[in-house]
């Protein structure tokens, strides 16, 4: 899934971005203004937001976002850990928070949980016609047997399985698995990954809707 990280500190931003990149496509911006722009142009599954930003604060940015009716999940990072600070963040529209310094595994787990819930799921495990995808453990099984998938393949499978019965365009998939730093974007890259998925998980796993996109049928 694609995640937007808003963090003004260079060191922490870089570290957090590479940490999140273990499980997600990550775009990193350093100000609320840049974040507002990025949100308009890209479909993010989650915002990881630092509260203390230069210019517009994270809280103001978040409150404005919610006023505009955007309900994208938001996990905020704060150096202030009083109950008051936490309540303030949650009331501004935050869904969850972490106090710096945080544990990377905890950040990844909370991020996944927020994305999952926004998709209407509570369990990290998706089961569909003999295929089991564990979004937390990043593993896939077919008929009880583990199937090794590459990172991109797994990401695409996750998107498709999160949208069972809906048609997802190639562009939609691209916008969710690639971030601004991705270099493996080619005209037929998605098709290559889809055929790999068909090979590993079965021909009928994904159906191609010509000129529209792909779908996993109910």
């Amino acid at each position: 899934m694609r995640v937007l990280l808003v963090e003004d500190d260079d060191m922490l931003g870089k570290a957090t971005a590479s940490g999140l990149a273990i499980a997600h496509a990550v775009d990193w911006v350093k100000s609320a203004e840049d974040a507002a722009l990025a949100i308009k142009t890209n479909p993010y599954a989650l915002i990881v937001l630092d509260i203390n930003l230069p210019g517009q604060s994270g809280l103001e940015f978040l409150a404005a976002l919610r006023r505009d009716g955007n309900d994208i999940p938001c996990l905020f990072l704060t150096a202030r850990d009083t109950v008051h600070n936490k309540i303030e963040g949650l009331n501004a529209g935050g869904d969850d928070y972490l106090v710096k310094p945080f544990d990377l595994d905890e950040l990844l787990a909370r991020a996944s949980a927020l994305i999952r819930r926004s998709q209407g799921r509570t369990s990290p495990v998706v089961r569909h016609h003999g295929i089991t995808l564990d979004t937390a453990a990043k593993t896939v099984e077919k008929d009880g047997k583990p199937v090794p998938l590459s990172g991109r393949e797994l990401a695409i499978a996750e998107i498709l399985l999160a949208n069972i019965g809906r048609v997802i365009s190639r562009a939609q998939i691209e916008s969710q698995i690639y971030d601004w730093n991705s270099e493996d974007i080619g005209s037929n890259t998605i098709e290559v990954h889809i055929s790999a998925l068909r090979r590993k998980l079965g021909k009928d796993f994904v159906k191609t809707i010509r000129n529209v996109g792909y779908t996993v049928e109910k």
Partner: protein, 446 residues
Amino acid sequence: MNKQTSLRRAFFRIVSVPLVICSLLIWSAGMAYIYTEVDEVYDATLAQYAREIDHLTKQGIFSVDENLGDDPAAKPQHKYERKIMFRIFENGKMVARSSFIDGLENAPLAPGYYDRKIDGKRWRIFVLASSETGHIVEVGNRYGIRYEMMRQLILCLLVPAILFLVAAMYLVWWGAARSLKQLVAISSQVDTRDVNDMTPIVDATIPQEVQPLLSALNRLFARVSDSFRREKEFTDNAAHELRTPLAAIKTQAQVIEKSETFTVEGQAGFANLLGAIDRAASMVDSLLAFSRVQSDKSEHAPVDLSALVKRETDELMRFTSWQGRRLATDIAPANIVSGSAQGLSILVRNIIVNALKFTPDNGEVKVSLSSDPRGTVLRVTDTGPGISDTMKDKVFERFFKGQKSVSSGSGLGLAIVKSIADMHGAEIALSDNQPTGLVFEVRFKS
């Protein structure tokens, strides 16, 4: 050593010394006046007597007899009789004299006033030479009579003067205390203040002379409070600022840990690195907790200390890192103290965690809560190495670490405990456990 000055004594001295000197001067002047007046009155009386006697001899009221007054059996009718005399001379011959007078030459004196010593006593004598009868009349009295009169007068004046002085000095002493009472009231107001209360003292009844002192005191309050606030802000900001780079270090380390494969030594080194980062992070947490505890202005409310201690010990027993160490509790129910529940939780937790830290594996920490007429006592006893008497005061200093330092400590835990205890007016006492260990006691006054 400088002798402490007393406003009351100084005021008393300033007023009473001139008062005594003035009184003495007035009294002395009065005495001198009385002295001359009495002298004049008595001299005038002598002249009057002399004329009276001369007049009587002219009338022939008594016959002139030179033996008059020589009766040896005669006794004075009044004690003053020996102190008054007269003699009458006719043609240079004494014709009459009063009794009880000897030792004066048997010849008349020239007219006028005399001071004479007769038989060692001082006399005042007036001599009248009558132009009509040709008699010379001598009358006299002893100075003793005048002195007696003066003594009586002096006493009559002295007693009220002394009474006046004593009353005046008492009034000055009492008045000084009374006007200084407001100063004492202000100092007791300052004394009973909460350590964190830096609001200015406002007192409409304050005398205008004391107002500058009060204003200076209030300005000092403002300055202290300002620097106190700045120090807290600094701690607070520094701690928060530290959190971001710490988060960067930690996250970056974890990213590397996840993306690289390490040798066994490398893994151990990495675990050490992450441990150090966590320790730095917990130190920042302690710093923030300390600064927060110090600025805790929450209202004190009744807190069930028994329930609170129970909750904290239950929670701590769940920690696996203390496995092998037992936590025994003996908590008397329903001990209520007035305080901040959050602060008291930190206090209880820090004391017990400290005890657990220094207790060897399989050792025991005892937590007891009891009450006596003087208050409620929380007692945490460990079986660790204990603390030497010289170190017992130092453990409450910020960043103090004992010689047997436990690496995970921030050195702030007990400083926080002390701060919270102070805020609750609770007393801390450290003593030795037998055979080894420390007894940590916190007494909340009832």
